[in-house]
Amino acid sequence: MKLTQFPRSILPILSRGNRGYYAWLLFLLLIMVWGAGGYAKQLNHGLVTTNMRDSVSWAFYIGNFTFLVGIAAAAVMLVIPAYIYNWKPIKEIVIFGELLAICAVVMSIGFIVVDIGNPLRFWHMLPGIGTMNFPSSMLSWDFFVLLTYLCINLVVVIHLLHRIFIKKDYNKKLVLTLVFVSIPMAVAIHTVTAFLYNAIPARPFWNSALLAPRFLASAFCSGPAILLILFQLLRKFTRFEIKDEAIWTIAELMVYAMFIYLFFSVAELFKEFYSGTEHLLYWQYLLFGIGDNKELVPYSWASIIMGCIAFVLFLVPKTRKNFTTLNIGAVLIYASVYVEKGIALIIPGFTPDVLGQIYVYTPSMIEIRTAALIFSVGFLVFTFLVKIAIAIIFEDYRVEEPMPEQQQTLEKA
């Protein structure tokens, strides 16, 4: 079967589903419509509909972008332990990790698109027809590595699913090579995203060499958290088989990541507070507020507290091996990193601004609606992709009858 026929023959999968599935789609659709209304207003009137201004010129959108790049990176890095510990469903872990990565990258590019003042001029950034500012602009680099990463993951996933679908062995050399390329790429996308901020001398809050390592550590807390829950769901509702031990190992790896993250943050804080230079201002705004301006304080402490609770839940073997507390921990760490990246990373970089003035920023309704639009589109794409993957991998969705022997060779691979 030709690759072009592949999409046509798998599309019917999307319309099969129970009531819960349709309710979920309807829910996403409603959010999408609500969000699109907000974005339409922004397109029409300009970014004035957001609460960003010259003082705080990047905010919620760019925070979300950063968070999602982290998710994309971490999802793929989970392939490493899968190989090291030789978990049985490696192929599935690769596929679902990369599906998550694809959606996360799509959403993160979405956040860039809604953040720029002239989305129609997006082509100025494309290699070949635009003028990319290589090699000096980190944003060019970031855009470039994100696109490459997206392409690699798409190729791997489509190839794997297509081969399973037509009951053929996948091209092991191609897949292995690409998967091994995609792992350093995952590190690269998040590192380059960190460099985007970290290399600007004008913003002391970001101007720390620890930023990139902290990014990676925090991504490795939040990315696997989603997969942890996804794997449990898959295990419950499909033939996906992953042992409890594998899930606990993921949780254990997350503890290391959290510890490193914690350590880096303490190192950063120590340096700032002990030296007490004027750079302290931004941390002060974030953690305690400056004068009457305490807008970020509840967020930063909520993030810290959620992170610490999650750390304890994951650290203590008893709560780590109890699926209720484990899942609570996963949700908490996810929320903690989301608040940290979405709000506590970008805004203090701009508050006080370079001339020392304080502009109080909180996202406007339009920003929240636009973000909801992007997330709902991302969730929809993820739902569809996962549904297709489940049907092909676990439910033997085929046009013709499946042949058991080949199925087995695949499983071995």
């Binding site: 300009g46 003042g117 027809i129 602009s137």
Partner: protein
């Protein structure tokens, strides 16, 4: 050759896509031309001329006035520099408003290329304790001094380094400019500028028709669109014709000096050689060509 072809077909596709988008919004072919326009620095002389003629026509239709749009390039042997006498500045903000008028800055939402910071003498130059919104009956206020900040025209500008599409660059005469038709509005340059000198058009800029300055430069004070970044250009439309920037002309106490850094006879060179001079945020190595000095 191959690249050229794919490039053209891509452009064609983009044109089609944009065309349909524009058809929907009821605009004309002008918008399409604007949309496809290349980076200013890659345009040929003929293309620039064509664009300028069409801009003049467009402005005439839009504002009912004849505009002179210049694209005059830098002159060899000139490197512009600026000096501001901190001991003279009284914080009256005449420069701010002269700049707004000269450079067609949006009145609503308000854009000011020059920010005047009020500082306490006791603390010296301390941004954290400064105030841009000072509003006393009379300036200068006791115990305070004033620090006007605008684009410092860095020799080593962060804003041009970070721009992902090369929409902003430094001209041979040292002026950092923006191509409004190429800027995608990502605002990375705003994050990177240590002096808050870049300003974004958060909404469609509005300038009263009768206050529109029709003497404009392509890279300077021509009318802007929403979603692009703009900044002080040392009044490129004036200084390339041998005139002073508007803020220099208007300053009632003569605190502002301007000239050619390469000319040993110039006033600016005299100041650099004979006065106590400082630049802002020296530690960042941006190397401003905007100097603060103490004249008395």
């Amino acid at each position: 050759m191959k690249e050229d072809k794919s490039r053209r077909s891509f452009l064609k596709n983009m044109a089609l896509a944009a065309g349909s988008a524009i058809a929907l919004s009821g605009c004309d072919m002008k918008a399409l031309d604007h949309f496809l326009q290349k980076n200013f620095r890659t345009l040929s002389k003929a293309e620039v001329d064509e664009i300028i003629t069409s801009l003049q026509l467009e402005y005439k239709n839009k504002y009912g006035k004849d505009f002179t749009v210049s694209a005059k390039p830098a002159t060899d042997g000139i490197l512009f520099g600026y000096a501001l006498d901190l001991s003279r500045c009284i914080g009256c903000r005449k420069c701010v408003y002269a700049c707004v008028e000269e450079n067609n800055q949006s009145r609503g939402p308000q854009i000011h290329w020059i920010q005047v910071l009020q500082m306490e003498k006791e603390k010296g130059i301390d941004f954290a304790d400064s105030d841009v919104h000072y509003n006393p009956e009379k300036v200068p206020e006791e115990g305070h001094f004033y620090l006007p900040v605008q684009c410092q025209q860095c020799r080593n500008p962060q804003c041009t380094t970070v721009c992902p599409v090369k929409a902003t660059w430094q001209e041979p005469d040292g002026i950092v400019v923006v191509d409004y038709n190429w800027c995608i509005g990502c605002r990375y340059c705003m994050a990177a500028c240590p002096y808050g000198a870049r300003h974004f058009n958060w909404a469609e800029p509005s300038v009263p028709e009768d206050e529109m300055n029709t003497n404009v430069h392509y890279l300077g004070n021509r009318p802007r669109m929403k979603g692009v970044v703009e900044k002080c250009t040392f009044c490129i439309q004036r200084v390339r014709e041998g005139r002073y920037p508007a803020c220099v002309e208007v300053c009632p106490v003569g605190a502002r000096k301007f000239g050619n850094l390469l000319d040993p006879e110039s006033e600016i060179r005299y100041i650099l050689e004979n006065k106590r001079v400082l630049v802002l945020k020296q530690e960042l190595n941006t190397q401003p060509k905007f100097y603060y000095f103490f004249g008395v």
